[in-house]
Symmetry: C2
Subunit: 240 residues, 2 copies
DNA sequence: CGTGAATTTGATTTAGCTCAAGCGGGGTGG
DNA sequence: CCACCCCGCTTGAGCTAAATCAAATTCACG
């Protein structure tokens, strides 16, 4: 059976057979959870690290004024909370955006792997570095771009990431189970303004967004409008 | 001689003697560079990873419209570009903000250390995770807060980080060698608005900012105004 | 069908931007 | 030692992107 997690890691390096088996063992008893399920609560101290095998999830932080800011989307193959292996306490929460399949890796197993299996240690670290790169891009997105540029950029990113794991349709469409309110929490805008900016993008013929699905009509133009350059994602051509 | 880098790592875990010596060997031939020196250029592929032993530096990304966004500040003890060990290409640049001392660690040495020295592997990974946590906080800062809250938050963060390595004065003041223009690039605001927001913070008696030095007058109030909660920094009490 | 959530639209307000001009201070060359 | 000049800071006057408030409409779903 395909395992999005192992596949992701193997785009980075070919694992020794024993490491791959080690990973697959832990993935052998996944859980299925519904949409809107809180995988991890902010402030919590966890015994396990989670991996998303299928579905969508989001990281988010609660502000002191009660507002919520999204910090990143998780797609199949992503670690949810690798930090807790070393940092102990979650500084943000994670919840699913669709029915999902997750596995729990005991924290101690991760630590042991890092000590005993150098290839896995590298791979885990690599996952963290990728996350970092995305976070940096989000910062420039929030700091420097207009409302519709931000949205455009977000869609470009999601498309690139989903395409890299085979979850984008050839016609440029992909599932993205979020509401406009949630888009607002992602790019720091009010719902009303998200709606108007989306409308502008639609009217410019760049994309459409309906019932949790994005379709990019003109990738070329959308990317150039958004100032999107996929290199920050450090994607490697997917070995088949 | 004190070594800010080794000290930082040892707040996380006590290194085996041999690992410490390994680090210190590489730190034995540092370079001194001036202010405004470009340590790493965006897009570059580097043979070395850099560590800042003293001074200030900043990560930044150039937008397609020519604007610049700051992505983080580097203070003594920080890795500049640990990513290149695994990611090959820099997705942002780094330059000093003051005269600084840096050391160059050959990429291959880092990779070898990760394979052979599990404690160091953990420590390096921990550094990445800390960075990530700071990046996430910056995202919520940019996405959800007003101009003066953003600035206040930035000052709280710098104070906490500098204090943790003994670079903050007991009176709440610390060196922060940036101009108002640069503050703008940090929090996504125009110079003019930075100036007005700073003025407001000064007039509220919270802090002062003059000639590259910040002084926080009322830490309690500033933190509560900024919605600052230092837990995201995952600081550990500094062992003396 | 009915009901609550999500989207759309309009009207108004505001935070932050741009443009433009004046000011201070520290460093340089005459 | 003075004059100048450049850079960073300050202030003012519009202007605009985005927020807020409020209501209507559509949609998904039981």
């Amino acid at each position: 059976m395909r395992n999005a997690f192992v596949e992701k890691i193997e785009t980075f390096l070919a694992l020794p057979e024993s490491d791959r088996r080690w990973l697959e063992t832990f993935c052998s008893s996944p859980r299925t959870v519904g949409s809107g399920f809180e995988l991890v609560r902010e402030g919590e101290k966890l015994p396990d690290v989670h991996v998303l095998l299928s579905g969508f999830a989001v990281r988010s932080k609660l502000m002191h004024d009660g507002e919520e800011q999204f910090l990143g989307y998780l797609i199949p193959g992503d670690f949810c909370d690798l930090h807790v292996a070393l940092l102990e306490r979650m500084d943000h929460g994670i919840r699913t955006l669709s029915p999902s399949v997750v596995v729990d890796l005991p924290r101690d197993a991760i630590l042991e792997a890092v000590s005993r299996r150098p290839e896995l240690a590298k791979a885990f670290w690599w996952c963290s570095l990728l996350n970092e790169a995305i976070l940096r891009e989000w910062i420039s997105n929030l700091g420097q771009k207009s409302a519709s540029e931000r949205l455009a950029h977000l869609f470009c990113e999601m498309h690139a990431r989903l395409a890299s794991i085979g979850l984008a349709h050839r016609d440029g469409s992909f599932a993205f189970p979020v509401t406009q309110l949630e888009l607002g929490k992602t790019v720091g805008l009010s719902v009303v303004h998200v709606q108007r900016s989306l409308k502008a993008l639609k009217e410019a013929g760049l994309l459409s967004f309906r019932s949790a699905r994005v379709r990019i009509n003109d990738m070329e133009q959308l990317q150039s409008f958004a100032g999107f350059d996929s290199r920050y994602l450090h994607l490697r051509p997917r070995p088949v």
